[in-house]
């Protein structure tokens, strides 16, 4: 039986980051979509709630933390798995994101291994998709 492709909304004001994340997510068999800030992302979620959201912190118009708090308080907003993906590395900031309802947290810079590992962690990908490294 064919399983439905999971959707992932990438919310980041950097076009370059969105492009890189889109490529990685396609490789991981996700159907990606994009938003440039939290406000745009809320509009997209209102129209159709994605399975996952890859969320930047510092963005114009509405930042990632405000978006997440609004999302989690809205109808159906508890459904998406939210993975922060940000340059913020301070432990206090990380704890703040988790308190606001983030499921996982990626510190930039990241690569496809990290994204795959974090998505596996939150159950978006099957376990042990990475083979044991050799040599």
């Amino acid at each position: 039986m064919k399983t439905a492709t999971k959707t992932c909304l990438i919310v980041d004001d950097s076009k370059m980051i969105r492009r890189v994340a889109t490529r990685i997510l396609r490789e991981l068999k996700f159907e990606p979509s994009e938003a440039g800030n939290g406000r745009e992302a809320l509009d997209i979620c209102k129209a159709s709630m994605p399975d996952a959201i890859l969320l930047d912190w510092n963005m114009p118009v509405m930042d990632g933390l405000s978006f997440l708090k609004t999302l989690r308080n809205s109808s159906g907003g508890s459904k998406p798995v939210v993975v922060f993906c940000t340059a913020e590395r301070d432990i206090i900031k990380i704890a703040e994101a988790l308190d606001a309802g983030a499921d996982e947290y990626i510190m930039k810079p990241f690569d496809s291994d990290i994204l795959g590992s974090k998505f596996t962690e939150v159950g978006l990908l099957g376990q042990d998709r990475y083979a044991q490294s050799t040599l």
């Binding site: 704890a95 988790l98 996982e104 974090k118 376990q127």
Partner: protein, 310 residues
């Protein structure tokens, strides 16, 4: 060999033989780039003008110290936290509760054999810390063993890069068990002090290492030669005490011999040691004919004086 690599094909072949003979590990054709990258870094560190100059020095003078550095640089494994997650679930959900029942608490020793930079044993330490409440009166000792190497030195320090801590480690564990130090993350002393690390040649005599209730040797078997595999599995059988467990990778097996283990049906790659110690041939010093396969003269390895140091 690819034309883009600088290492002479004859040197590559000699390095392949060297790692087989010294440590029983096979370097495949697909590892050319990895070999070049790692040894180039070592050549720079050792002050050689080129990689070929270092390898030339290695084989012409048979320097033991350089051979050790070359082989350990080649053997360094890129590992991640909670790699082979099912194995950790088996330890937490099945093995430790079983051992707790068996020993009514007591002391349980867990060994990561070939621990590299330590992610596996640190993951085990986190697991143990998380489930400590359900294992009252049980003391758990955690030990990591590997060839002396830079990776093992990093493991002892518990220092990991920004990239390493993001592979397999849930963010909640990161903020609970690590502190940030510049660009790196360092394991907190409260966790690090629960683990001992030992420098040890995985193919040499294991009698000093003692015995363990759980031995993890995951993701190594497919890389090593058949004689080395047999020798290591025999050593592992000695390391695991009666009723203890051997954890291999979920796709790895003991092959034809059972080494006094029975597979644990619910967990792929997990084997339980049979109970009657007196009947266990691997606990007695009876010579095994299979030893002859590995005790033959080693034409390249013996060029290096005192290779027992490896």
């Amino acid at each position: 060999m690819s034309g883009t690599l600088s290492l002479k094909p004859s040197y590559y072949e000699a390095l392949k033989r060297l790692t087989i003979e010294l440590v029983g590990v096979k370097i495949g054709a697909e590892h050319e780039f990895l070999v070049e990258t790692r040894l180039l870094a070592l050549a720079r560190k050792e002050g050689f003008e080129s990689l070929n100059q270092m390898i030339d020095e290695l084989f012409s003078r048979g320097q033991t110290r350089l051979a050790i550095h070359v082989v350990t640089a080649l053997l360094e494994r890129a590992t991640s936290f909670f790699e082979g997650r099912n194995g950790f679930e088996t330890i937490g959900d099945v093995l430790l509760p079983n051992l707790h029942k068996l020993y009514r608490g007591g002391t349980v020793r867990i060994l990561s054999y070939g621990c590299s930079s330590g992610q596996e044993i640190y993951s085990a330490a986190i697991l143990v810390d998380k489930i400590a409440e359900i294992l009252p009166n049980m003391k758990i000792e955690l030990i990591g063993v590997d060839y002396p190497s830079q990776a093992l030195e990093r493991a002892k320090k518990g220092r990991f890069t920004h990239f390493e801590v993001q592979r397999g480690l849930p963010i909640r564990h990161l903020i609970k068990y690590f502190t940030q130090d510049g660009e790196d993350w360092v394991v907190k002393d409260s966790l690090r002090n629960k683990i001992s690390f030992i420098d040890h040649n995985l193919l040499s005599d294991i009698s000093d290492l003692g015995t363990y209730q759980i031995v993890m040797f995951r993701g190594h078997l497919n890389q090593i030669t058949k004689p080395a595999k047999k020798r290591i599995l025999r050593s592992l059988s000695r390391l695991v005490c009666a009723h203890g467990y051997l954890m291999l990778g979920c796709n790895e097996s003991l092959d034809t011999a059972n080494f006094w283990f029975d597979p644990v049906p619910i967990a792929a790659g997990c084997f339980k040691k049979r109970g009657k110690m007196a009947e266990n041939p691997f606990l007695s010093p009876v010579p095994n004919p299979a030893d002859e396969e590995t005790s033959q003269q080693l034409p390249i390895a013996t060029q290096f004086q005192g290779n027992g140091a490896l």
